[in-house]
Subunit: 218 residues, 2 copies
Amino acid sequence: MATSTVEDYIKQIYLEQIESADGSVPMGRVANSLGVVPGTATTMVKSLADSELVDYEPRVGVRLTEAGEELALQMLRRHRLIELFLVETLGLDWSEIHEEAEKLEHAISDRVLEQIDALLGHPKVDPHGDPIPTESGNLSNELLKNLCNCDLNQPLHIARITDQSSVFLQFINNSGLMPGVKLTVQEREPAADAITLHFSDGKTLIVGTPAGEKILVE
Amino acid sequence: MATSTVEDYIKQIYLEQIESADGSVPMGRVANSLGVVPGTATTMVKSLADSELVDYEPRVGVRLTEAGEELALQMLRRHRLIELFLVETLGLDWSEIHEEAEKLEHAISDRVLEQIDALLGHPKVDPHGDPIPTESGNLSNELLKNLCNCDLNQPLHIARITDQSSVFLQFINNSGLMPGVKLTVQEREPAADAITLHFSDGKTLIVGTPAGEKILVE
DNA sequence: ATATGTAATTTGATTAATCAAATATTCTGT
DNA sequence: ACAGAATATTTGATTAATCAAATTACATAT
């Protein structure tokens, strides 16, 4: 059985691997994203390699094996389902769920996880709009970006609104953010929780982060 | 911060302490209920004593301090709220929740716990009928009769099951002896070690003395 | 009161995860 | 091409939790 530390390393390496061009993650990144000193990362990664979860090339970097990727996707599924659960069922704020999920993802059994999945209606994305891998480890990659994670200054159009509440739909209507509308994201100000949008007719609009997450674009 | 091992020791010592007459738990019991060899229990208890969670008298036994009891009740609250949550919200079978809760009780934050408590409507007892300590650490401690010492032919209902082992809970489930069920005790046959129960639907059931002692009624 | 058995403690090792600091390797700029 | 900087690895210690096996203390029965 993988310890919770192992699970953390594998998940984090997966996340870094997605970002990296060549699919190999240098040790510095591993150490950094896990919050440990470089020496610790080296030691740990060598032991992950012994358990066939990663391929490790000294002084180059690390890359998940088949088995490692499977475990990573499993952890990602856990993490994201738990995040959604914390928001949907327990009413936590989306800003406070990450650390919670970080702990819970190691403690929850498959049995409980599948109950949560069912309770939430087999959701496809977590509260941040990140895709939730399926039980068999499939991560839909034709995933839509939203206003909070899409590229800046690129021509986009609104594809989907993921909040059916009437207040929100009213706001969507009033602001002209209906599906099909073309726009670009001019800038994001995380501190102020604001996203500046630019429409083809020259108008601009500022929306908050929670709203931006519910607006998927492509 | 208490590690999850410390939390386990403290909770288990609390549980043993309730059973014991003089309030002191011998090392053998500690080792046994934690599933470790005696030497380990000794070492660990000494370290618990260093952190002022228990008073330890060598070759005699261990007893919780004020702080230890507080932690124990906190863990008991966690455990029992989680058990109820697993049954009520996630629809798990009440005979399979103990091990789940055993893991989750260490991972869940106070924040999440209070949300669960609210979601469940601040319940007083868990699915086994065990009382849930309040947030401030109060445990309602009315003593209930069991099937072996209650009055005969009196209308009763099952209040609490004091054996958490899944075999026993399975038996309880199969025999329809869950908390809340109404019945009377028709007769006891000490020689045959048998208690005859009578249900409101006319059915009767015979259980042995050891089982009867684990079924509390009021 | 002595021997025997049971219970508890000590001692010495082990495993997983970590850090600090010394060392080695590779990259980069001139 | 070489010095210096940036990265990575090694080495030696540390902490928490555990076990096996040796030892000690206590209780009790003859």
